[in-house]
């Protein structure tokens, strides 16, 4: 300790926000405003395509947080998409609630269901966890197929009076001078934009918080994280419940937009989990940027290859396998390795508040070897 007193006292500080971040905030705000104003100029097809892109991106961000950070490789997130959708149908068809209000309630109910579900599936590890979540989603599907007021196994539709009762539709009709179906799409578009922006903000702030620090540690080495005092179970549970809530809201929006629901479609592992995994893996798992790239790739493939029928799926699978083999960190992994780039900075830097001299020269005897 004598050595310590002779050493000049250094004070240290933590710094999270980079200089670029304030500029990024402005860019994000401007981009959001531009996207929000897009329906004024854009045609209906583009709006519908973007709705698809937004909710797939939101689902992918949720799954990435689950699998890429918390190590929860769930193959059963369709449970919450379907649940959210069905809650919306139940609340609007039998409860007479406005669809816009039904969306947050669907999220809340999904979180409530996620809690006991987690108590069951969290007893399983690795591949067993993956299969367990899938089985749970199947149980959800079979259960909703029994609910006669919601159409049982064949499903049901929202009446036009319900779908056009969503807040803002009349307003959009008069303001933009469009018919009801187009106005409905525009309101759905705004809801989707709000949900994806909300999801991104939620994921980003979670990663920036102390939970994010633990999630980064769990992602890199779970047992080491535990031996440093991280309560793995609690953080995983929090992530599972939070993503279930977000996934439930997205599911509610998806089925408001589709206006028709059936157990087989709403709890489809292909539509709501397989595609989502494809997006995250292709784009780059364990990064926030990856799902953006993956969602755009999926959208482009679906847009240009949908006419090829089964070949589209074969190509999708082949591309997925190729990326896993050749670039396991995904497209973003390749980009960020080459350019040391990040769009969502979460790094915490240690800053030394010293006199002007650099750190190394202050402690000359430190590294002789």
């Amino acid at each position: 300790m004598d050595e310590a007193s002779s050493r000049p006292v250094q004070t240290f500080r933590i710094k999270t926000v980079g200089r670029a971040s304030h500029a990024a905030l402005v860019v994000v705000t401007v981009a959001l405003l531009a996207l929000a104003l897009l329906p004024v100029f854009a045609g209906r097809t583009l709006i519908q395509d973007l709705i698809f892109l937004y909710y797939m991106l939101a689902l992918a961000q949720c799954w990435n947080l689950l699998a890429g950070y918390a190590g929860l490789i769930s193959v059963g997130q369709q449970a919450f998409v379907g649940l959210g959708g069905y809650i919306l149908f139940a609340l609007t068809l039998t409860g007479g609630l406005n669809p816009v209000l039904a969306i947050p309630i669907a999220g809340l109910v999904s979180a409530l269901f996620a809690f006991p579900t987690a108590l069951v599936v969290f007893r399983l590890r690795g591949a067993y966890f993956a299969i367990g979540t899938w089985v749970v989603a199947e149980v959800y599907r079979l259960a909703f197929a029994q609910v006669k007021p919601l159409g049982g196994g064949t499903g049901t539709s929202l009446t036009p009076s319900i779908t056009s009762s969503a807040y803002g539709i009349e307003w959009v009709k008069t303001l933009l001078d469009v018919r009801t179906p187009a106005a409905r799409d525009i309101v759905s578009y705004w809801l989707a934009l709000a949900l994806v922006a909300g999801t991104l903000a939620a994921v980003y702030f979670m990663l920036r918080s102390r939970r994010g620090l633990a999630l980064g540690a769990i992602r890199d080495h779970e047992t080491a994280a535990a031996s440093l005092g991280v309560d793995i179970y609690r953080i995983k549970l929090a992530v599972y419940v939070a993503t279930a809530a977000m996934t439930g809201m997205i599911g509610a929006l998806i089925y408001l937009q589709k206006a028709r629901i059936s157990p087989d479609a709403a709890f489809s592992v292909l539509d709501w989990t397989a595609y989502v995994i494809f997006i995250v893996v292709i784009g780059g798992i364990g990064t926030m940027e990856g799902p953006f790239i993956g969602a755009i790739i999926l959208y482009l493939m679906q847009h240009y290859l949908a006419d090829f029928g089964a070949w589209y799926l074969i190509l999708l699978g082949a591309l997925g396998i190729l990326v896993m083999l050749l670039a396991p960190k995904g497209v973003w992994g390749l980009v960020s390795e080459r350019f040391d780039l990040t769009l969502f900075p979460t790094r915490r830097r240690l800053v030394v508040d010293d006199e002007e001299r650099p750190i190394a020269s202050k402690r000359p005897k430190m590294r002789e070897t």
Binding site: M1, E3, A4, R7, Q10, T11, F12, R13, I14, R210, L213, A214, G216, A217, R219, D220, H221, T223, A224, A225, A226, S227, L228, G229, V230, D231, I232, G286, R347, R348, R349, L350, V352, I359, A360, R363, M366, R367, E368, T369
Partner: protein
């Protein structure tokens, strides 16, 4: 008594890795553990840190039975450990690695933790690498990080698992100085090491394990001179 281990038993199939083990450590004491490969040294650490559950016996820390306490609970109670093969969080920076320990193990806020972590990094010569990714460190740096990270949790007992293995002579003596510095702050140390001379420069007592059994214990010089210890452990060198 800071750590009290009694009648500890653990086996993997027919291989016994802990056989009625007893061990006691006073606050601030440094104890070394030696023994041939497969003697159950790392298993003992895994049992103390909560990564494995014993079949019989108990472990008390600060008078509290640890049986129902998770690894993270034991860390928060004051048991810090390093791993024989360093396990850094590769995609976090060196500083962030320590921050995990300080925020979760020591339960301080990130802002408070900065000063504390900075000082540890300085003491372990990692300050220059503070903002580099842990995945880019050399073996020596990884070993230092392993120790720095454990220290960030503010342990009262530090479990060091072959921290000197693979280091050069100079690096090794530097490490001994660092560990002696840590001792002076009142941290008790339990150290598994094959590099006996490094161990002897630090520890008050020595424990020899073989096939999960404690075959000798006592003052380092005396233990090293016992013929049975020579035979099973040092025999190769003699």
């Amino acid at each position: 008594m800071l750590l009290e281990v009694a009648g500890l038993k653990k086996s993997f199939g027919s291989i016994v890795v802990a056989d009625a083990l007893d061990l006691a450590i006073e606050p601030g004491e440094a104890v070394g553990i030696i023994g041939p490969n497969g003697a159950g040294k790392t298993t003992l650490f895994n049992l103390i840190a909560g990564n494995l559950a014993p079949e019989a016996g108990y472990i008390r820390f600060d008078g509290r039975d640890l049986a129902s306490i998770s690894p993270q609970g034991r860390c928060r109670a004051g048991i810090g450990r390093t791993h024989q093969i360093p396990q850094p969080f590769e995609k976090l920076t060196v500083f962030e690695n320590l921050l995990v320990g300080a925020v979760y193990g020591r339960r301080s806020s990130e802002r408070q933790a900065a000063q504390y972590c900075g000082e540890i990094l300085g003491r372990l010569g990692l300050l220059k690498r503070a903002n580099s990714l842990a995945g880019s460190l050399t073996l020596l740096e990884r070993k230092r990080l392993e120790m720095a990270r454990a220290l960030a949790t503010a342990p009262r007992l530090l479990l060091l698992d072959e921290i000197a293995g693979g280091l050069t002579e100079g690096e090794c003596s530097e490490l001994v100085t660092t560990i002696n510095d840590i001792r002076k702050t009142g941290v008790a140390i339990l150290w598994i090491e094959h590099i006996v001379h490094a161990l002897l420069a630090v520890v008050d007592r020595l424990v020899v394990l073989n096939f999960g059994r404690k075959i000798a214990a006592g003052l380092p010089r005396e233990v090293m001179q016992r013929p049975d210890v020579h035979q099973i452990y040092i025999g190769i060198e003699a």
